[in-house]
């Protein structure tokens, strides 16, 4: 592994009694990157995150943050990280201001700066109006935003977020995603898990897929497409269908066809197929057979398709 990783997990394994949660996970998180961590429920995503932020001990393997081993140096390491749990929980008697003030002070923000920091952070997240409200009276979505506020207030270099957008309404989700993009511009390193694969695809520079405690893929979307061998796809919309299904099956490299709506098809082709040649052939076949084409284009597989395919094939690194 290169030595410039901000976070390096080397052969990390963790068991809960007889259940193995992580099996030899090795991962390097590069400075300034946004890393999406996906996997089925129970795959070990939260366990990885809790180890990374120092909440879980008794694991085998090594974790270093900024070159400093996590075990034995938790205090030093904790200063540089911000963490948003799946469900941010606060003592219910606190107001948002009191909660942020305590966490800000504990993270090293001087007393003289805390008021201004709280105000600026709440404004950035768009929840200035809740500053004096009791935490116990807030909705789940707003609590999650307060959770993000406590994580970013001290401007940490590393942000670790466990399903940060789960439970947010579409507008808040959009706002969170904008914040993520800002973090990237500011050079922060972001590690987040999510089940919303379209968000991961939108935001992550690299993606890690975890399955049954094993990291089965780490790489960019392009690398994922290459390794998953999903094949190529062509989307076709007809204005008149004269038995197109028969014509589509004649094309070189044909694998399958999905009739996704009236007169709309997705043709799946082998990975090695020359797409330009295939599209030309499809047009020729369809016209010869009497169908009229409204549109035809190559389409990229989504992360969701790649992910399902990846797990189904059980591809390992």
């Amino acid at each position: 592994m290169a030595d410039n990783g901000l976070v390096v997990l080397s052969n990390v394994s963790k068991s809960y009694r007889n259940v193995v949660a992580l099996r030899g996970v090795s991962l390097e998180l590069r400075r300034g990157e946004t890393f999406g961590y996906i996997g089925p429920n129970g795959a070990g995503k939260t366990t990885t995150i809790r180890i990374m932020v120092g909440l879980l001990g008794k694991y085998s393997g090594d974790v270093t943050i900024n070159g400093v081993p996590l075990q034995g140096n938790k205090e030093k390491v904790n200063r540089m990280l911000g963490y948003v749990p799946q469900k941010a929980a606060f003592q219910e008697w606190r107001t948002v201001d009191q909660a942020l003030s305590t966490f800000g002070r504990l993270s090293g923000i001087p007393r003289s700066e805390i008021d201004a920091k709280i105000a600026a952070t709440l404004e950035r997240i768009g929840i200035t109006e809740v500053r004096n409200r009791k935490v116990g009276a807030l909705s789940g979505g707003t609590l999650q935003k307060v959770g993000l506020a406590q994580a970013i207030m001290h401007e940490p270099e590393l942000l670790v977020l466990d399903e940060p957008v789960a439970g947010l309404d579409p507008e808040s989700r959009y706002h969170f995603k904008e914040l993520f993009r800002d973090f990237r511009k500011e050079g922060k390193t972001v590690f987040f898990s999510s089940h919303i694969l379209s968000d991961v695809e939108d935001l992550a520079d690299r993606i890690g897929i975890l399955s049954a405690g094993q990291l089965v893929h780490v790489g960019t979307m392009e690398e994922l497409k290459e390794q998953a061998r999903v094949g190529k796809q062509v989307s076709i919309e007809l204005s008149m269908d004269q038995g197109a299904m028969v014509a589509l099956k004649k094309v070189e490299g044909y694998v399958s066809v999905d009739n996704i709506a009236l007169n709309r098809f997705i043709v799946h082709l082998e990975q090695s197929t020359d797409l330009d040649a295939a599209i030309h052939e499809l047009i020729t076949e369809l016209i010869a057979q009497g169908s009229r084409i409204r549109s035809i284009s190559a389409v990229s597989p989504t992360l969701e398709q790649l992910y399902v395919n990846y797990l189904a094939k059980g591809v390992h690194q």
Partner: protein
């Protein structure tokens, strides 16, 4: 710095809780009511001493149950995660909670003793004899008992898997342990200072166990 901040913070939470308000106002009132309503049970005792005993027994029970339940709930809801990812020691959180509850109950005890003292003075027409000694003894016993119940409750809160188990353990465990202070004082004529010293040792041991356990516990 962290311990002072956490203590101030926990104090802020506890002293404004409904339980503590009930403790500060309700318990001195209850002590007075019992003193005058059941005079036979209090013969020979001053109002101040009786109020002190009532606060340490009932107040100690209420506050220790509250502390254990608070810790169990906060543990279950993973409230501590956001503390633990910061550069603090876990034991600081335990000590902060312990000191906050102890201080609140001790203040309640002092209030009760002072009110009792006022009533004793009004009843006798003068300050009761050996007033300084009475107050000091009452406070020593109160603080000793509450120290034990509170530290035991912190330990029970950290170790208990559920609120029900925690409450049962506090009621049948920590309050019984507190007997090591009051029983020798009431029945064997031990000096309050000796009882207080024993209480402080027991408190320190239980608090140390609670801190070590909290440091090591996987949550």
């Amino acid at each position: 710095m962290s311990l002072a901040l956490l203590f101030k913070d926990e104090l802020n939470g506890f002293y404004r809780s409904k339980v503590m308000i009930a403790l500060w106002i309700g318990l001195p009132a209850l002590a007075l009511l019992l003193f005058y309503a059941v005079p036979s049970s209090t013969s020979g005792l001053s109002v101040a001493a009786f109020a002190s005993v009532i606060v340490s027994v009932i107040g100690g029970t209420i506050s220790s149950v509250m502390l254990a339940v608070t810790i169990i709930n906060e543990k279950e809801r993973k409230v501590y995660d956001l503390f633990f990812i910061r550069p603090i020691h876990r034991w600081e959180l335990v000590i902060a909670k312990f000191l906050a509850v102890l201080l609140c109950v001790v203040v309640a005890g002092m209030l009760a003793v002072l009110i009792g003292l006022g009533l004793d003075t009004a009843r006798l027409g003068t300050l009761p004899p050996a007033i300084g000694e009475t107050i000091a003894n009452s406070l020593l016993i109160t603080i000793g008992m509450i120290g034990i119940t509170t530290s035991a409750s912190a330990l029970i809160g950290i170790a208990s898997p559920s609120v029900l188990v925690g409450v049962i353990a506090v009621l049948y465990g920590s309050n019984q342990v507190a007997g090591v202070v009051i029983l020798p004082y009431l029945t064997a004529g031990f000096s309050p200072l000796v009882s207080f010293a024993v209480a402080m040792v027991v408190t320190a041991v239980m608090l140390a166990i609670a801190c070590v356990y909290f440091e090591r516990k996987q949550m």
